[in-house]
């Protein structure tokens, strides 16, 4: 096996929560609220169900082929040629996703944190640090996350408490003003995020008790769903649907809005550095999975030699993918949902159906 480490189901749970939540909580509310207005929280809940579907499919596949990742067992299920194509799709998907996340992160830093610093600085420093960390393998990523996760969790709760006094929950009314269709439309994008749980397809083999994977995945989705729900509710309740939809990072603005006793204000840089920690985990995990998938696809013995080449590709891709932030936001709002879901849910579902028909793997 390329990766010798094992992680516990708690580590997996925390890792999944950080991975999905980190960018979702920052980018989603505005996009969802733009579609679903004050019913954005419903979209968050619906998206969680889509995510649960992905968990179901992926974990069933994983249990049928323990010890193997989706890149490996797709070859068994579909045969060598088609399997390799599926593997390639996943490699591209994770490469793409890593690049998008890196770009999202860097854009955010430039827009709201350090406008005079070049984008490339953030991209390079982050990706190189990722490269350093992922050499330790999945164990080190999981453990690093274990240090950040409680802090981030705690901070989210603190922010919630500090923000609630400025919230006016009547802003959430009326419910379903324009029927259910805007809500469903608003569901697709967060579903693409919740669908990131597809990383399970790569992590299950490294779980020390593989049967706990499904539970951990579902629980992670529920927690993320809850926090997204909270984010939607709070951004709308504090700013109103119209303003929230017009704001690029409404949750960031929530933090900026905090004022403790009129004295401690402007604490956003402090909260943001911990957000950086969580995005770092996300990028490192995606980057790690990209390397792992490539190594398995090429039947390499070790993924470490390809980390730096992949880092170069990710950095370059993240710069080249989008010209400006409008393109990025537009891509996330319009294209990302269907595109991601077809890979996160479509391909694994297809694999599962074929595997069941061919009676492959354990049951």
């Amino acid at each position: 096996m390329i990766e010798g480490g094992k992680i516990s189901s708690r580590q997996l749970l925390w890792l999944l929560i950080t991975t999905i939540l980190s960018t979702a909580i920052l980018f989603l509310p505005s996009i969802v609220v733009a579609e679903a207005k004050q019913d954005g929280w419903l979209s968050a809940i619906f998206a969680t169900f889509v995510g649960l579907l992905v968990v179901l499919v992926v974990s069933t596949l994983g249990l049928r082929f323990p010890q193997q990742t989706i890149v490996e067992y797709s070859e068994i299920i579909l045969g060598r040629f088609l399997g390799k194509i599926v593997g390639l799709v996943f490699i591209w998907f994770f490469l793409h996703m890593s690049a998008i996340v890196v770009r999202e992160f860097a854009e955010f830093m430039v827009v709201s944190f350090m406008p005079k610093t070049p984008l490339m600085v953030f991209i390079l420093t982050f990706v190189l640090l990722s490269a350093f960390v992922l050499r330790g393998g999945i164990e080190v990523i999981a453990r690093t996350n274990e240090v950040f996760f409680p802090v981030i969790f705690f901070l989210i709760i603190i922010v919630t408490i500090l923000v609630v006094k400025d919230a006016d929950f009547t802003r959430l009314m009326p419910m379903l003003e324009r029927g259910i269709s805007p809500v469903l439309k608003g569901t697709i994008i967060p579903a693409g995020w919740q669908g990131e749980i597809v990383v399970l397809a790569f992590l299950l083999p490294y779980l020390n008790r593989i049967h706990e994977g499904r539970r951990a995945g579902s629980l992670a989705l529920l927690v993320v769903g809850f926090f997204l729900f909270l984010a939607e509710v709070l951004t709308v309740a504090v700013f109103g649907a119209e303003v929230a939809a017009r704001t690029l990072f409404p949750t960031f603005n929530l933090v900026r809005y905090i004022s403790i006793a009129g004295f401690l204000e402007h604490l956003d840089p402090f909260f943001m550095i911990f957000w950086i920690g969580s995005v770092f985990i996300k990028i490192t995990l995606f980057y790690y999975i990209t390397c792992l998938a490539i190594a398995q696809w090429l039947n390499l013995r070790d993924y470490k030699p390809i980390t730096l080449p992949v880092a170069t590709i990710i950095s370059a891709l993240s710069v080249l993918l989008f010209d400006n932030i409008t393109e990025l936001v537009n891509f996330i709002a319009k294209v990302w949902g269907p595109y991601a879901l077809s890979i996160q849910l479509g391909i694994p579902a297809l694999l599962l159906v074929v595997a069941m028909l061919r009676r492959q793997g354990k049951r």
Partner: protein, 550 residues
Amino acid sequence: MIRKVFGKLLSRLIKTESSKGCNDEPCLLENIENLDLTADLEANLHRIKQILGDSPDLVIRSCRIGLKQEISAAIIYIDGLVDKLLVNDDVMKALMLEVQMVESKENLKRKHILESITESMLPASDVRNVKSLADFFDSVLSGDTAILVDGSAVGLVVSTRGWKSRNVEEPASESVVRGPRDGFTENLRDNTALLRRRIKTPLLRIEAFKIGRLSRTDIEIAYIKGIADEKVVEEVRRRLRRIDVDHILESAYIEELIEDAPFSLFSTVYRTERPDKLAGGIFEGRVGILIDNTPFALLVPSVFAEWIQAVEDYYERYPMGSLIRLLRIAALLSALLLPSFYVAITTHHQEMLPTVLLLSISAAREGVPFPAIVEAFIMELSFEVLREAGIRLPRPIGPAISIIGGVIIGDAAVRAGLVGAPMVVVVAFTGIASYAISGYTASITMRFLRFGVMVLSTVLGLYGVMLAVIAIIAHVVSLRSFGVPYLSPIAPFNVRDLKDVFLRAPWWAMFKRPRLIGHNEPIRQDYFLMPRYFADEENEPVHERRDHDD
């Protein structure tokens, strides 16, 4: 590779010319491992003298024993390493007087002379036989007295170790307000005694090693059988056995030769000069390593949490222990990050400061010629130099220097407009905070890392600080100490063990040993030890009885 080179060097040192008879010094030295004592006393003594090079502290006392004084013997010891009283009373008197008396009753036969002496004549408690010259020297050079008898190829070694050594004193580097005041000394045997005094279970195992080609340093490992993980113990033995250096002067030698991460700034071996600390570790299932000639003992596996655990946490009542520990965590974080935070916030994120504070820092810095980072470096470096000077200086001058440095230079620097007053406050606090961490080495690590973080903080602000923190954390979580993840129980996360990390749980709640260290025998004590009153008739609690009396 290093070992090979070293071996060559050593053999070149020793090997000059080889001769057949092997009576010359170099040849003897080279073959010392293979040589045995001979039956010829004169030859033995000659060899010994030759090997030790007629050293002036070598004492060879020849005598004749037996009723007719026909057997020549020699008593050999190193002056200064032995207790002269013991040698006189237990060895000399026995050989020269009592042997005669005994022999009058039964004829002393040459063949059995040694057995007779050992069994019935020598009143000394610890007597052993030695056959090889190497063993002979190991014993004699450690302070034992050897008895060689003509005609016997086996020598007797009587333990008469006794040299000038420091008394058991309060450990200088780890003092406490409440708690035992004894510390390890340079004498290994005293140290094991201090340990035994605390761990009286017969399960305490102490195993001896002799390490160092030239120094032949005594090293002993101590652990409790059944609690310590046998794999860890075996790993310790393995790592100690492969050490092949010429000398060991301090525990740091061993530490560097057995640690898991030789390139890391973080030490994966804990050192202490407190017997109670070592005993506490051993009770948890760790392995202690005691080294002769140094009061510092090592404890493995070591985890990061030990940086914020001081023995006193366990001797104060738990609420105080816990609060002090929280304070220490704050100190640890400030020691690492405070100057960087200051630099990052005042040069990148000024909005985080309340307006009035912003203006007062700004006013204080008006006229300061250097950017904040240079200011920070100047102050931090001068503080480090002061600290170093304070340690190296003779005792009486040390504190004076600290006062001059801290107060005068700080104040003068502000008045001269070299640095702003807020920076002096930050640096002074950081300096003090770094001493609140448990363990001197740990605070050095923090101080080293601090400078790196400061550079990043000035270039990239808090983002830079976070990059550094991520890198540090990712490095720390990748470390292991004898198989135990260094940052456990934080990562891998374990709620049960957190009771002794951020807080110090009361003793009645410490049911189990740390999961990754004491998993052999996880149950430490019974549940339900929390003191409380029981309402049964027989054991009526004291205070209730008093109520009835009224």
